[in-house]
């Protein structure tokens, strides 16, 4: 893994403590902690329904919290609204809407809007930023195509470009690879890792443990609405923890740039009848 560039900032980009989310009278998130720092990639992993997306959306200010403290660059989330918040974090949703009749360039241009006052036109600086974000994500070669004509992988890179052009110091992506084939997944993984190496704080909500182990500096494990562990990927995703949280007999292994998830798909010998 590349050595991340360190920055002088002492305050973490994001610090969230004891975040709690209730929807109606149901508690979706009991208590969760999350810290993001410049130059680091944090992966949030956990079983379906563990609250990964809810945590990401809650700290991003997109889901009301019932309790807890969330600070962006030291400022309380509750006091950050609209463009102020948009200049601190960009969020790539799991499945963004793909509107008719919108080209790649137009979509990325929309992503620049937090930098513009109402009815203000884009300046040369904004146009340069739009070009940069498109270059960086490799979408320039289909800049004039309509979003509706793109493949899943191309579309996801456009979504990342829309977030990147916000030029926020934190980039959050909610399962950006869950609908992608292997090649497109690798492209997105490499992109996110290199963005972290260039100094962004990156949060990746991920399903794929071997992917998380390969790209993340820190893995945060969630289970039943709580963050239950956080640390370096290989130690944190131990055999015991996979058993405890996912209820499977599996292990994450790494050699060089390769990572693999070894799974006893049918359970331990003689054990596949009582698998629940």
């Amino acid at each position: 893994m590349a050595e991340p560039r360190t920055t002088a900032s002492l305050t973490p980009a994001l610090e969230a403590r004891d975040v709690r989310v209730e929807i109606g009278d149901k508690t979706i998130l009991h208590t969760a902690d999350l810290t993001l720092e410049a130059g680091k990639l944090v992966a949030v992993v956990g079983p379906n329904g563990a609250g990964k997306s809810t945590l990401a959306r809650a700290v991003a200010g997109m889901q009301k919290t019932a309790a807890g403290a969330v600070h962006w660059m030291g400022d309380d989330l509750a006091k950050l609204r609209g463009r102020k918040l948009a200049l601190r974090r960009a969020f790539v949703p799991q499945r963004a809407r793909v509107p008719d009749g919108v080209t790649v360039t137009e979509a990325v241009r929309i992503g620049r809007s937090p930098h513009l006052k109402p009815l203000q036109r884009a300046t040369r600086r904004d146009n340069a930023a739009i070009e940069r974000a498109m270059e960086r994500t490799g979408v320039t070669k289909f800049a004039d195509r309509k979003l509706t004509t793109l493949s899943g992988g191309e579309l996801q890179r456009v979504q990342i470009a829309v977030a990147l052009v916000q030029e926020a110091p934190v980039l959050m992506a909610d399962e950006p690879t869950s609908h992608l084939d292997l090649g497109a997944t690798v492209a997105v993984a490499k992109l996110l890792r290199s963005l972290a190496d260039e100094g962004l704080a990156v949060l990746l909500v991920a399903h794929d443990l071997s992917l998380a182990a390969a790209v993340a500096d820190t893995v945060v494990v969630m289970s039943q609405g709580r963050t239950v562990a956080a640390g370096p990927p290989l130690e944190t995703l131990s055999h015991e923890r996979l058993d405890e949280v996912w209820g499977v007999d599996a292990s994450v292994q790494a050699s060089g740039h390769h990572t693999a998830l070894h799974v006893a798909w049918l359970g331990r010998a003689g054990d596949h009848d009582n698998a629940s």
């Binding site: 960009a90 949703p93 963004a96 809407r97 509107p99 009749g101 992503g111 809007s113 916000q166």
Partner: protein
């Protein structure tokens, strides 16, 4: 691409200008263009022709421009805000409410026919208000699905009210048909004087919504990532569209088709969905279509005036189908 967009604007502007000229010059009496210009610039001698231009045709032309623009913009606002191509003023209950209000005045209180625009406006806005109140109550307030379903329910309710009135007073139905079919009247400036503030507020809201609606195009999550508030945008767009559509209905009856089709035609013809483009060009396109439809309705069987609604459909549908076929 820029060439195509500019070409569409040029065509629409020419259509509006031609529509204004035709609307002022043609009718039961054809008036020479020079006389029309003299009347407008105050140079014409006092006489019947001057009076026809200034007191009958000019207000009607202005009404056609305002109503056409309002319906085009209302449709574009709703389609953008709800992310749904089927959205039109019908969807938020305005058309149903305005129809009920107008039929109530025309059939039950025919003595107070002067209150027609006020009744249509009031019930149109009331229906939209009910739709928003239902859509913004309970969990997930302001969701698109909730809003559309609430709109369908409320529109059905007012539609049933309208039909009931017509069934209860079968001998008076005739007087309401013109309104239901949709059409402008030559009543001078009095109606416009009542409803212009509603148009004004609606258009101002639409100008402020152009960029927020673009953000909404990529979905609520992206809009929120960009610091926008999707539900607030949707509410403001709904209020703007309700004001425009209710004011339009109070002047010209039920012409919901225009609000549905014009923004689509603009998007298909220009190849862009950017609201900075679609909103103003839909305003021009709506005006052009209504000016053309109204002039035809007045001249085809002159001096009998036909309702404009069917004419607009006759002009609009082939144009729309042509664009749709090309778009694939």
């Amino acid at each position: 691409m820029i060439v195509r967009r500019t070409a569409v604007v040029v065509v629409v502007v020419i259509a509006v200008v031609a529509g204004i000229v035709a609307s002022l010059a043609l009718g039961a009496v054809d008036i020479p263009l020079s006389t029309v210009i003299d009347a407008l610039t105050g140079k014409a001698d006092p006489g019947p022709l001057r009076q026809i231009v200034l007191d009958l045709r000019l207000p009607r032309t202005v009404e056609a421009i305002a109503v056409g623009a309002a319906l085009g913009v209302a449709g574009a606002l709703l389609q953008g805000a709800l992310g749904n191509p089927l959205a039109s003023p019908d969807v938020i209950g305005v058309t149903g409410g305005a129809g009920f209000g107008a039929v109530l005045i025309l059939i039950v209180f025919p003595g107070s026919v002067a209150l027609l625009p006020v009744g249509a406006l009031f019930f149109g806005l009331l229906a939209a208000g009910l739709v928003f109140a239902i859509a913004w109550a309970g969990p997930n307030p302001g969701g698109t699905g909730r809003l559309i379903l609430a709109g369908i329910a409320i529109a059905a309710l007012f539609g049933a009210g309208m039909t009931s009135i017509m069934v209860a007073y079968p001998d008076r139905v005739q007087s309401a048909l013109f309104f239901i079919a949709g059409g402008l009247t030559s009543d001078g400036w009095s109606d416009l004087k009542v409803v212009w503030p509603y148009f004004a507020v609606g258009f101002v809201l639409a100008i402020g919504l152009t960029r927020p609606l673009d953000r909404l195009a990529l979905g609520d999550d992206v809009a929120e990532s960009l610091g926008a508030r999707p539900r607030a945008i949707r509410l403001i767009a709904g209020v703007g569209a309700a004001l425009l559509a209710a004011a339009a209905a109070s002047l010209a009856g039920l012409l919901g088709f225009l609000g549905l089709v014009v923004p689509h035609a603009v998007r298909l013809a220009s190849g862009t969905s950017s609201h900075t483009y679609v909103l103003p060009v839909s305003a021009l396109g709506g005006s052009a279509l209504l000016l053309a439809g109204d002039t035809l309705a007045r001249t085809v069987r002159a001096p009998i005036e036909l309702p404009v609604g069917p004419f607009m459909v006759v002009i609009g549908v082939p144009l729309f189908l042509f664009l749709l076929r090309r778009a694939v």
